[in-house]
């Protein structure tokens, strides 16, 4: 008899007691036609993770990128800001961006207070970031970093002329599918940034959360696009395939404030219209919720010959070089206050060690009148070790232009310190001007307590922090003729070969007079024979 054996499988359900800390991800795109001939697109990807940044091990993460978490944990980083930018943000005609970024690369970080050797961690952090972001951030070290007192806490600023796009990969879903490298480099200005900081979990601020903002800012030129009538396909190569499944919110905002003067029609019409009153400034936005199917937005301008009056923002700045020749030069930072009231600003300059500045030549003039700085911090640089750090607190009178000028010397570097393209020149980083504005005109920045574009709607505050970054400068240091040693060797060898041979010949030969012997052979034989016979 055959027994049917019934096997009972005991399935042990492993009751996972792993309570997962909640994390949220939002993706937003802000499209804003600028007053002039450009259109601004800002992608904001925000991850908020309800964990304590001080105790989190970053061994497990869901949405938060673990690769970044590991770096942050390892180097004891409290707050990290990285931006890689190509092109220059034109404050005077474009207003303020959502997140400001200096041309080139900029890294600034705050380390936790228990960090033993900040300089060492700083160098290693930069190295790790260079691996993560495929940018030459490993050139960041103490010889080109400063720790400002007012502008922000530990910050290092490096300037690399190019931003590498190799980490921009497409093919993902959600708004990120709009990021196609060919369309990113087709712009007047492009900037990718990463901001990591601890934030309050709620209003009571009993516990902390970790917030990561990743942003991409692009400014397209209508001339490059060929038309003013923009669409997602024209800007990014394709429409949005669908929303990101992981995102709790997936939204596109189109700034329609300028529509009153330059009216354009959006198709399809926005799902919602948001009116934001911020610091006395009213703006309207068309809001699209990205559906789980294909979305394409296009705008069509009405034929009109109206010219928009560009009103520059309250504070903007520029920087340029003065002087001529290869001996002395000067740096001038011009600050423009368009506001009707005084503005207190902090000017931070990180000047490389190969541009030795003289503090006694520092002159601050407002419309030709001397303007005494309120506070001044200066740490002279040391060659090959430390840059020149200059931080000035200034009061800018209303409707004024202020010039901060300082002189420097051109120095020779050691032969090996010149880069391969030495005649290209050397970069001086941008000056950073920080201030609190009372008006939010032209201001699209996120509030300090906010992390998404939605947070900036109706976010009236007592002041609006702006940081204006000026342009980079390129100076040509006295560059030796690198082929000169080769030429000298060639010339010297030729001269030696030509001169040494005959000279050696002349000086080492003994010159002896020898009587001339004209005797014929027959006579000589005859003489020798007679001499022999005589014996």
């Amino acid at each position: 008899m055959q027994f049917l054996t019934c096997a009972t499988y005991l399935i042990f359900y492993v009751n996972s007691v792993l309570t997962y800390n909640s994390d949220t991800f939002t993706e937003e795109l802000l499209i804003k036609p600028l007053y002039s001939e450009q259109i601004y697109a800002h992608f904001q990807f925000t991850t908020k993770w309800d964990v304590d940044p001080n105790t989190e091990t970053f061994n497990h993460s869901r949405i938060f990128p673990r690769a970044l978490g590991e770096i942050v944990k390892r180097y004891n980083v409290q707050e990290l800001h990285v931006s890689l930018t190509g092109g220059l943000w034109r404050y005077d005609s474009w207003g303020y961006p959502v997140t400001d970024a200096a041309p080139g690369a900029e890294v600034w970080a705050w380390f936790k207070t228990d960090t033993k050797d900040v300089n060492k961690n700083w160098k290693l952090l930069a190295n790790s970031l260079s691996g993560l972001l495929c940018a030459s951030l490993n050139f960041v070290d103490t010889s080109n970093s400063v720790s400002p007192e007012f502008s922000f806490k530990p910050t290092g600023v490096t300037d690399s002329p190019n931003v590498n796009s190799s980490y921009l990969s497409s093919g993902v879903s959600g708004l990120a599918s709009l990021l196609n490298s060919g369309y990113i480099h087709n712009t007047r200005y492009h900037s990718v940034a990463l901001h990591l900081r601890p934030v309050c979990r709620d209003e009571t601020c009993q516990s902390l959360s970790l917030e990561l903002q990743q942003s991409v800012s692009l400014v397209y030129d209508y001339l490059i696009l060929g038309t003013k009538n923009w669409s997602l396909r024209k800007l990014f190569g394709q429409g949005v395939t669908r929303n990101c499944i992981l995102a709790s919110r997936s939204e596109i905002y189109v700034d329609t404030t300028t529509s009153s003067t330059h009216s354009f029609e959006l198709s399809p019409p926005p799902d919602d219209v948001v009116t934001s009153i911020r610091g006395g400034h009213v703006s309207t936005f068309g809001k699209y919720n990205v559906p789980n199917y294909f979305l394409h937005i296009s705008a069509k301008y009405e034929e009109s010959q109206k010219l928009a009056v560009v009103s520059p923002p309250s504070l903007y700045a520029s920087q340029y070089l003065t002087g001529y020749g290869q001996e002395r030069g000067g740096i001038v930072t011009k600050l423009y206050n368009n506001h009707w009231d005084n503005l207190n600003v902090v000017v931070l300059q990180n000047i490389p060690w190969y541009v030795p500045i003289y503090l006694h030549t520092l002159k601050v003039t407002t419309d030709g009148v001397n303007n005494e700085p309120i506070t001044l911090r200066y740490i002279p640089g040391i060659q090959r070790e430390r840059p020149y750090y200059l931080e000035i607190l200034l009061k800018l009178p209303p409707k004024s232009a202020t010039a901060v000028s300082i002189d420097f010397d051109y120095v020779f570097l050691k032969w090996q310190e010149y880069p391969p393209d030495a005649n290209h020149g050397f970069y001086i980083g941008s000056a950073i001007i920080s201030s609190h504005l009372t008006l939010a005109r032209n201001y699209t920045g996120l509030p300090q307590d906010g992390s998404t574009i939605t947070d900036s709607f109706n976010a009236s505050r007592s002041g609006y922090l702006v940081q204006v970054r000026t342009e980079n400068m390129v100076i040509t240091l006295p560059t030796p003729d690198f082929s000169m040693p080769y030429n000298v060797i060639c010339l010297a060898c030729t001269v030696v070969a030509l001169a040494f041979g005959p000279l050696h010949n002349i000086t080492t030969r003994r010159l002896v007079l020898k009587p001339k012997n004209n005797e014929k052979l027959l006579f000589r034989l005859k003489r020798k024979l007679t001499e022999f016979l005589k014996k």
Binding site: N164, N180, G182, D421, F482
Partner: protein, 222 residues
């Protein structure tokens, strides 16, 4: 390692792309390109350090050659060169002896199992003549005394865009996928003198296997 950022140069009329052909057939700078050493980082010192693994502390993993005695390594070099050297940037050059010593050091440190060395430069064969380490298969675009020539000019950017050997090698490799059963021997036949103008040089004596029996996927696979 790319010294020049041609793709993202603002003067590139076709942003973020580098094509193999004036007719824009293949974008060799696709979205999956990862440049680990760029610009001023591309130096002979960094290249030798990368090969030999003698890197400064704190070097991220993506900037290391994490290979061991089981790894097959492909080294592809291109640029301006001459008899016994290849230029790096506009200021320095790696000599054939340095290259040979670096590979020997790799062998002694068990950093490779087999190496396939490709070089596309003038007098390319001079770069591998000094190799003395085992398990290296080397191919150069020209013999000593020969110039390596470029394929064609792109009038839109006004420069010669690709070298002949690289052009035909790329042409061959475009048809290679992970399931391919082509052999290294076939790849070594690429670019005969009739199209290359220079003679493609091959060095087989250090390599212990017969290249005709080595699948190309041992070295070149996506």
């Amino acid at each position: 390692m790319i010294a020049d950022d041609m793709a993202c140069n603002p003067r590139n009329p076709r942003p973020a792309t580098v094509f193999n052909n004036a007719n824009q057939h293949i974008n060799v700078y696709g979205d999956d390109v990862e440049v680990d050493y760029r610009g001023y980082e591309v130096t002979v010192e960094n290249f030798v350090r990368l090969l030999t693994g003698r890197l400064p502390p704190g070097t991220p993993r993506s900037k290391q050659l994490l290979t061991d005695e089981g790894s097959n390594v492909l080294v592809y070099l291109t640029g301006h060169g001459g008899d016994g050297f290849l230029k790096f940037q506009d200021s320095e050059e790696i000599t054939s002896q340095e290259m040979a010593d670096a590979l020997e050091q790799m062998w002694q440190k068990q950093r490779y199992h087999e190496t396939f060395f490709m070089i596309d430069t003038c007098q390319a064969a001079s770069m591998y003549e000094r190799f003395y380490s085992p398990n290296i298969l080397a191919v150069g675009s020209s013999l000593v005394g020969e110039d390596s020539l470029s394929h064609h000019v792109d009038p839109a950017i006004g420069v010669y865009i690709i070298d002949r050997y690289t052009y035909y090698a790329l042409d061959f490799l475009e048809n290679v996928d992970p399931q391919s059963n082509k052999s290294m021997g076939e790849f070594l036949q690429v670019c005969p003198k009739s199209v290359c103008i220079s003679t493609v040089g091959v060095r087989r004596d250090l390599f212990r296997r017969n290249p005709d029996h080595v699948p190309i996927t041992d070295f070149l696979v996506q």
